[in-house]
Symmetry: C2
Subunit: 480 residues, 2 copies
């Protein structure tokens, strides 16, 4: 069995040697996604999609609690519409795909496949509201978007990805700003409580904000290799779109006013985040709350009388409460099966063989720590529920520990570079607020500003680049 295991494990690259290749190996080997005949486009396989469904269901319920309703806008956007907001078109036009032929005829105006739907939503919203009584208008859509990236990677950066895009219209700036942050909190909740990854919350710098936004807020995460991943963003637009798109309403004073707007999005990148935050040399490691299979029963000595029956009986009991799988394949060794389910990151393996049955027991094995425990069959339901919670917490704590270990403070440009070279991770510094200093840091270290964290610290009085007075703390990191 241990030989078997080594052979199997050999199939993925060592995580410390080549993280990028390890990532690709896990995506393919755990059957999360596959490459397709269309360059830069992936197929999301059922196991990967089931993770997305769990994220989506959780997130959608949170949106609905906030009064958000789903809707659906056209996938195609006319060029003239995309061009309406200046910064927005500059940001997106270079990376869109254009439809030029429809039904065998050349189109009069080319249509882009949506890279995001601010322009379309704004156009429709302007038709749908007239009075403050129609507000807030809180819409969201779950769909796919296209961005013609040059370098792609499954889930992290793909020419097509799945996401939700929320677009809301409010009566006042204050209400819109508040809603922007409420949605950021939904993302933080999903990522911390479902995906077991701690987030850093803050505001993006002017340089890093969304094309057309007045302010972009972000939840940032740190991966196993110390690189940062932007996991969700929420934008406050002010009246930047409502003016060019004429989203006007009659306010409580009876006067016409341009509305205040937000948008916010999270994508299938979150699947990439789960893989890269938690995985190890045995493959994927899924937090129980998001795992498509929370526990797998692997019967031992499957051909011995009564084993399959007992395993099935246990499965039937447990699947009422948990997302279960029972592995009855007769063409693989038990060792192969163990490795296979570990590769797929199933949080708990339940082993049950003739001896266990005799003793009225089964063995529970944790994916996160490899710890085994023997549990009486009549206690297994209760124990599994506890164990899944323990695993969820432990995985969060492990990820938080990695982040803590990878977070450093720097007071000079050299120090930022040194810290990143040694440790990657987040580097905290003060910053004067000048984009030239931000550009300099990027140029020298390859790190982008992650955000200006909501939780500020006063690390020094001056900017590490220009030496001028600095009042804001910024976190920097190399990114995916």
């Amino acid at each position: 069995m241990s030989n078997n295991k080594n052979e199997y494990v050999k199939e993925i690259t060592n995580i410390e040697e080549d993280f990028a290749q390890w990532y690709t190996d896990v995506v393919l080997k755990a059957e999360l996604a596959d490459y397709t005949d269309v360059k830069g486009f992936i197929a999301i396989r059922p196991y990967g999609f089931a993770i997305w469904e769990n994220i989506k269901n959780y997130m959608d319920a949170e949106f609905k609690k906030a009064g958000v309703t789903n809707l659906y806008m056209p996938v195609l956007i006319p060029e003239s519409l995309l061009n309406k907001e200046e910064e927005h078109v500059e940001g997106f036009a270079p990376e869109v795909a254009w439809v030029t032929i429809g039904g065998e005829e050349e189109l009069e105006e080319k249509l882009c496949i949506r890279p995001t739907s601010e322009t379309m939503m704004s156009t429709m919203y302007s038709k749908w509201i007239s009075s403050w009584r129609d507000l807030p208008l809180l819409g969201n859509q779950w769909c796919s978007v296209l961005r013609w990236e040059k370098e792609t990677r499954p889930f992290l950066r793909s020419r097509e990805f799945l996401w939700q895009e929320g677009h809301t219209i409010h009566e006042t700036a204050e209400e819109a700003q508040k809603f922007t942050l409420r949605m950021l909190d939904v993302y933080a909740d999903v990522i911390e409580n479902l995906l077991a990854i701690p987030v850093l919350k803050g505001r993006k710098t002017e340089k890093e904000k969304f094309a057309g936004a007045e302010a972009t807020y972000t939840v940032e995460t740190l991966m196993h290799d110390g690189r940062a991943l932007q996991a969700g963003t929420s934008h406050y637009f002010g009246q930047n779109f409502s003016k060019p798109f004429s989203i006007k309403f009659q306010n409580r004073e009876g006067k016409e006013e341009y509305a205040y707007q937000t948008s916010w999005g999270a994508t299938t990148r979150l699947i990439g985040a789960v893989i890269m935050a938690h995985g190890d040399n045995r493959g994927l490691k899924l937090p129980p709350r998001v795992a498509p299979i929370q526990a797998v029963i692997v019967p031992i000595a499957i051909h011995k009388e009564g084993v399959i029956e007992k395993a099935q009986e246990l499965n039937e009991k447990l699947e009422k409460k948990f997302r279960m799988k029972i592995d009855l394949r007769d063409n693989y060794s038990t060792g192969f099966k163990f490795n296979d389910w570990e590769m797929r990151g199933v949080p708990v393996r339940i082993e049950i063989g003739p001896k266990d049955i005799e003793n009225g027991e089964a063995v529970l094995v944790r994916r996160d720590t490899s710890e085994k425990e023997v549990v009486k069959l009549d206690k297994i339901e209760e124990r599994l529920a506890e164990l899944l919670e323990e695993i969820q917490k432990n995985m969060y704590n492990e990820a938080a520990k990695i982040r803590e270990n990878r977070t450093t403070v720097a007071h000079t440009l050299d120090e930022i570079l040194k810290n990143l070279e040694e440790n990657q991770g987040y580097v905290k510094t003060m910053w004067c607020g000048n984009v030239e200093c931000e550009n300099k840091i990027k140029e020298v270290t390859g790190a982008h500003s992650r955000c200006i964290p909501f939780e500020q610290e006063h690390l020094a009085d001056t900017c590490p680049v220009c030496g001028k007075k600095a009042e804001k703390m910024v976190v920097w990191g190399r990114q995916y």
Copy 2:
């Protein structure tokens, strides 16, 4: 109030005078969808989308019970891939949209936006299976597809629509055929039990079957004006795609074999079906099981002390069990509100005013029959649950009655035409099986064959067109 009502109702066209215009009026007025700046593309508004979500959730759960898993394939399909199955490309190529530019560069090979994903699914499936142990492979995706229609109509025929497309691969022809029919049964269940519309189940003729299929099965529905609507189809492909796409597996005898395939789809047309099967001169009429709002509370004399509080208290109690809405708008008359919720098809209106509160009562008003009943507040939960079931059943029965009244038998071509001119609806005839006779009927009467029903009757011995021997009964109808 009655004046108010008339004014409001005037805003939609009379259903008997101009059904097509009535339909468009209801779609817009009930805020189900709206036109956009992209010709032939609609925006599905929150109220319309909520109907789709209810359909989707129900259907998706049924698919999962059958072992189907969701996945996601690229939205773009290379021209060469679309061309692989001959009949398929002939069927779809004339109505696709082509992407020719990506990221500011002309593409080497043009890519179409998926009109359906048989070609992409087949390509990926061929990579994913190798043995009979990998089968069945039961995949489905919820997505949007494009077909460059010339004449469009919200929900019924749009250049873009939402749907699910299931694609499955099986070990044997028998298993695949059985699965094709099982999925047809899911559609029948959704349409009859959720949407309260009776279906006609059968097999499409060769002329009407899906491009590339060996057999297409359909669930057909009849609308208020007697026109037919194809509401869902399930296709058995045999090996028609597995051969050109090389979907091979090692069978139980150790021999390589081409797999057997199915696909099946249902779309946002179902929203159109609900509107057209049940609506009336007061607007939309929604079956309770699919209604986004099952009951709306309209407080009477809203400014009288305690009315709002009592209405809210009732709402809080009911919303634990039902999808509720409370209308506290202070800028509309009660009459306007009644009409507004009737337009939106809410199955039950609950009126509660000062007198009702004094008597510990409320008034329940059915959307389907306009019947009113006074119910004690402590019995309202129980009564509402019953009432919603009664409405659901009654709406199904009403639709079944319309269908019965609109179903006729014909023995000659003249008779088919006469029946359609008088009555529209379904016309049953015998048929020799020859496509020329089918074409003749289409040419003379404008009716397509709906299907060869599973429940056959022997109406005569000969075909009404050629007079030759006929063993099959076919149902004809003009269609949407």
